[in-house]
């Protein structure tokens, strides 16, 4: 499913002394099946932007088109929009409420008035997709570990059969093992199910590894939009906005200043290793 954002502006508390322009004339095109990394520091407008994409927040001006259709055209179809554009919020604690993991995941499909049969089928397949087996079905979601809670929350969205998956900081606060699990889960959704994915993250390393295109937001505007290679070769601009490139980009930049013949668009450990091995003496 393609998403088109046209001149989107959002102003909070319009007309009061607390007025704040959260989004300022944002236009963006997201193709079907793309993997987008959305970065920006706190208050850059990225959370407001993703909440517009499934109609949780209405634009002050501008429009959002899903497959060419304005999502606010028909208020009765907003629920359908929220089904198709699944949004997983940062803290699973904000949504888990049922007595059991199974019931919690079934909450979405039940709200959508799916048939009993389909609810069961979707719930089971969503739990399977996030790697929570039958032994978890009857557990209380509150007894799970941080990583498991997050997977339950993602399953709750997957059970609604979304075509687009938006995740807000899905790995924040997790340890490396938990983070790895969530990231490979997202990668699988993208590759096997051909889902369009928008990953909001502070972690440049994660975004660099996974996204096909990176969108950088700053003060309510989209300021950069390109492939990871393009974005991470602009270390200075990123730093000016209070962001950082992956550590490897800094090594590469410093090496180039010292005259190393190394390509400027390297930003993962694997790439750097291979490039450096070609340049350095080693015995293997």
């Amino acid at each position: 499913m393609s998403i088109t954002i046209n001149h989107l502006t959002h102003i909070y508390n319009a007309g009061t002394t607390f007025e704040k322009k959260a989004l300022d004339d944002v236009s963006l095109e997201i193709q079907d099946g793309e993997f987008i990394g959305l970065i920006g520091h706190t208050g850059s407008g990225k959370s407001t932007l993703i909440q517009h994409l499934n109609g949780l927040v209405a634009p002050t001006s501008g429009e959002i088109l899903l497959n060419g259709e304005n999502i606010h055209q028909d208020k009765n179809r907003l629920k359908e929009v929220r089904r198709r554009v699944g949004l997983v919020f940062q803290y699973p604690e904000h949504q888990l409420f049922e007595m059991t993991v199974y019931k919690d995941v079934a909450f979405g499909p039940t709200n959508l008035k799916f048939s009993e049969d389909k609810i069961r089928k979707n719930t089971i397949s969503a739990l399977e997709a996030v790697g929570l087996g039958e032994e978890y079905y009857d557990q209380s979601p509150f007894d799970l570990s941080g990583g498991q809670k997050r997977r339950t929350a993602i399953a709750g969205i997957l059970a609604m059969e979304p075509e687009v998956l938006i995740l807000d900081e899905p790995t924040a606060g997790l340890d490396p093992k938990g983070r790895e699990e969530i990231l490979s889960l997202i990668q699988e959704m993208h590759q096997k199910r051909k889902m369009t994915v928008i990953l909001v993250s502070h972690s440049m390393e994660d975004v660099a590894k996974m996204a096909e295109r990176i969108v950088v937001m700053h003060q309510g505007k989209v300021v950069m939009n390109g492939t990871p290679k393009e974005i991470f070769s602009c270390v200075e601009e990123l730093e000016k906005m209070g962001l950082a490139a992956p550590q490897v980009s800094y090594v590469v930049r410093a090496l180039r200043e010292k005259g190393f013949p190394i390509s400027p668009d390297i930003f993962t450990v694997e790439e750097a290793k291979n490039a450096l091995l070609a340049l350095l003496p080693h015995n293997s």
Partner: protein, 289 residues
Amino acid sequence: MKMVTAENVCYTYWKTVEQADGTSAQKEVNALCGVSLSIEKGSFTAILGHNGSGKSTFAKQINALLIPTEGTIWVDGMCTSEAGMLWEIRKKAGMVFQNPDNQLVATVVEEDVAFGPENLGMPPADIRKTVEDSLLRVGMTEYAKAAPSHLSGGQKQRIAIAGILAMKPDCIVLDEPTAMLDPGGRKEVMETLHRLNKQEGITIVLITHYMEEAVQADQVFVMDDGKLVLSGMPKEVFSQVKRLKGYGLDVPQVTELADALRQEGVDLPADILTVEEMVGALCRLQSTI
């Protein structure tokens, strides 16, 4: 002089768990087993470990919020298990917690910073002086009259640090103070901590799971499953990339890159932690060709 000395500290508690048949049972949890370590006065110490490794439980022992079920902890010579020393210990070794929202008490920044001194019964004039002084030391003077709910995460944590400073401690224990912050906030907090340590000689005990934050520490302890598994200078500890990953820790990209290159037979030192060190080492190698 030692700020904190732990000798064979164990902490066991009983947890109620629901069983398959619906009844609940008591299960014994060994959160800490036989932890012995010592922390020098004026040092910057990092305690690393993944979630559930026991590092937060240990932090609470220093502040006497928890008392060892076995073994002993001394804070500046005061034993935490001894009744009567409680408030003196908490004054000596203040504690900052993970969630910035859940440790600020008052609706105005300066009132919050005053909370500790007020509890200690300081005279009003002294409180005003220490509050002003503490806000200055964390660089938050201009926010004295602001409401905490209007501040960013990093600013809230600096207020929490000021609230501890106002009690004039010799040591600050921070339990994952940056876990809920964005990169900007993390930087603010880390810079504040290093400044307090370097310029004022305050002992810092930082509990974290970010290895980057431990790179500049004087000594590092790694915990896993309630036990102390590694300790030493950052360079000694971080050169063991495989082991650290095994304990579920994040290894900085440069350290990982250096390790990967070493595996391929590149002659790099084992203790590379920063971009500068990496670049320096690579340049030296290059010039040997």
